[in-house]
Amino acid sequence: MSAATTTGPTRTRGPLAELFLGGGAARRALWILVGLMLLLSVVRVISGEQALTSASTFSTALLLAVPIGLAALGGLFSERAGVVNIGLEGMLILGTWGAGWAGYQWGWAGAIVGGILFGVAGGLVHAIATVTFGVDHVVSGVAINILAAGIVRFLSELVYVGNELGGGATQSPALSSRPPSFSLPVLSDGPDLLGDLADQGWFLISDVAGLLRGVTSGVGVLTLIAVLLIPISYVVLWRTAFGLRLRSCGENPAAADSLGVPVYRMKYIAVLISGGLAGLGGVALVFVANIFKEGQTGGRGFIGLAALIFGNWRPGGLAAGAGLFGFADGLQLRSRTAVVALLLLLALLLLAVAVFQTVRGRYLQAVLAAAFAGLSLVGFLTIDELPTGIVSFTPHLTTLLVLSLASQRLRMPKADGLVYRRGEN
């Protein structure tokens, strides 16, 4: 096999690397997924922790990933247009309130609209502050987070206290109708072929079946929307003229302005979309419990921001970030013993890193990785169950570990976070 076909503008790879790394992002993502499933299967078989790859784990991962992913998508739009959005948490909070308020009156469809509108309102404040007044993006975002908490409590006191349908200062009445959910016929419903397969405990096959069943059965309408929004966002941002203009505002607004792109208007639109998506994330949270409950966002807006950066400001990447977080979070809530099995996974990963670094001649890194691999292995072998305090941060630690192990080639939009004032640059 001759490596004559040059792939990247900068690097040439060997044939093996080409097989794994070539062919664009989609193929790479597929390989990573396959590798991960393989690893998970191995760990499951060794540790006997069926929860690691069960259908329910994956469906939980999806459920937990949705609000985070939506918040991150919201961040994507605004940051691609150059507006840093620390206010995602606040917009998420507004979204939950809007969903609860509209939902108890007009049902689930109303909740979706209400949540989006409230999120958009948050976005509007952010846009006015950052775009029109040129306020520092972080300041505005932080202020919105504070404001949102206050407004939501205030509104609840105003609307729900003494409401005969229920609700109170910290929660809304229940939604008046439940959102529908879907399953793939035959495969994950009725005969449930995938489910049967998943229960067999076969190496890899059952694990993959678990994954597939997990993400195809009992999927809520909002989960469906969220999953669809990932490719839609990609198409909108990268394949349309609108997206190109929007992104140009985040890369070089002066250039965009000089070509007649209405920079301020684009930024406004982007931040409003951002608020709407974050608000939708709030709706997802409300759908889970069927009511609005104060504090229900639990910092997921920040996690969404982290997922956005994790995903290198790209829809696929942020989905992966949200998914990873959701998976670890689900596992943590479901099975404390399965968390211990993650130590084995970590040991294997670190071992791979050690081998890789040895090959590359970086012995210090190799030794370090090997040492930590050993530690993880010892941990796996000796620990039965971790205390709640430690288990509780499994998803956060996992995210951090993945980030520190993966090589970072993050590239934020070049003018992200910079206040653009016409004629001043």
Binding site: D136, I309, G389
Partner: protein, 393 residues
């Protein structure tokens, strides 16, 4: 003339902000059918008896001290373009370990106090250093790592509290560490009230106020007057120019985070050493996040942060009396959020007005000195949370 004008334009922005926040708050209070003037009265009504009045001052100051420290910690990192959302976790880890360590040793009073402070600063610095090391060696964005480390700190502190550092007996509703012995407690400042002839308040004014002042002055001098501070600010203004000038950007990330974390380590100490004497499940949380708002409101300058912290504390104090007046306490949160927004918007408006006026003057005179707008580098330094992803690699 120019001095007057400068003062005028310096006060202009806060004035707009106050008006703006007042308008919003008035609307909010009207919306619930209460009288806004009541709210104003309550805000400034410190009580009937002299003791109540001094107590209100104590409450404000005691609240302002940790807020100030939190703002200071955040601002140091901001000054070099690092967004340290991790102050929350840093102070939590610092406080639990300082409480544990402080209760475990016995030392003579001043040494014991110093010991607790040093432990807290070291732990805070260590927790922040994780962020810095990950950024410098692995290129992990400090925003993500500090968010994650906040949660990790929460879990770890909980584990420490329920496990190795548990001091309260089994079954007690609140789990705490052991109490700091007398020698490890920070004496209050109530003597001051006698000195200036004010009534003794009910509570105790945190002696830690002094430490906070010292920290504020130290940071201020460090940033404005020293080479190190110059390097730090230069890195914040332009990482590439700083590197070319010989500043070791990676080293600066580490050093700045160490300082930021060390200051963050102090946040929990006023409460720990002056009031509760132990860390527990009910220990005040969330100061790290408030610190971000305070730092931004104070425009990352120690003096500004002091004012911002006092403002926040002043509003917080009103939360109780407002409820007596049947105005919900959430109004306070709304005022705080609105003020942060209003102040920054007002700053921008003031900036633009100053500019326009300068332009007007240029019409007649050929080349007057262009008066730089009030947003100095201090104001904009915080805005740069970008561009540093690659700084390490």
């Amino acid at each position: 003339m120019t001095v007057l004008r400068r003062i005028g334009s310096a006060l202009f922005a806060p004035a707009i902000a106050v008006v703006f926040a007042a308008v919003i708050t008035t609307l909010v209070i009207l919306a619930i059918g209460e009288n806004p003037s009541t709210a104003v009265r309550v805000l400034f009504d410190f009580g009937d008896t002299p003791a109540q009045q001094t107590q209100a001052i104590v409450v404000i100051l005691n609240r302002a001290v940790p807020l100030f420290l939190a703002g200071l910690a955040v601002s140091v990192a901001f000054r070099m373009g690092l967004f340290n959302i991790g102050v929350e976790g840093q102070y939590r880890m610092a406080t639990v370990l300082a409480a544990g360590a402080g209760a475990a040793v016995s030392l003579p009073a001043p040494l014991h106090v110093v010991f607790v402070i040093v432990v807290a600063m070291l732990v805070g610095a260590f927790w922040a250093a994780i962020v810095a090391v990950l950024k410098v060696t692995r290129g992990v964005s400090e925003v993500i790592s500090s968010i994650m480390l906040n949660f990790i700190a929460l879990g770890t502190a909980s584990w420490l509290l329920t496990g190795p550092l548990r001091g309260s007996e089994e079954g007690a509703a609140i789990i705490t560490t052991k109490d700091l012995p007398e020698s490890g407690q920070f004496p209050g400042l109530n003597g001051l009230f006698d000195l200036v002839g004010l009534a003794q308040p009910r509570g105790e004014l945190y002696g830690f106020l002094v430490v906070a002042l010292v920290a504020g002055i130290a940071i201020s001098v460090l940033l404005k007057r020293t080479r190190f501070g110059f390097d730090l600010r230069a890195t914040g203004l332009s990482a590439s120019a700083a590197t070319a000038s010989g500043i070791d950007a990676r080293g600066m990330v580490l050093k700045t985070m160490l300082i930021s974390g060390a200051v963050a380590g102090l946040i929990g100490l006023p409460d720990l050493m002056g009031n509760t004497h132990h860390f527990g499940t009910e220990f005040t949380a969330g100061l790290g996040f408030l610190g971000i708002a305070v730092a931004l409101l104070g425009r990352n300058s120690p003096l500004g942060i002091a004012f911002a912290a006092l403002l926040f504390a002043f509003l917080d104090r009103a939360a109780v009396p407002l409820q007596f007046a049947d105005i919900p306490a959430s109004v306070v949160t709304i005022i705080q959020g609105t003020i942060v927004l209003a102040v920054v918007i007002a700053n921008e408006i003031a900036r633009q007005l100053t500019r326009r006026r300068a332009e007007g003057e240029t019409g007649q005179a050929a080349s007057p000195a262009p008066e730089s707008p009030p947003t100095g580098p201090a104001g904009t330094a915080g805005s740069r949370i970008d561009e540093h992803q690659g700084a390490g690699a």
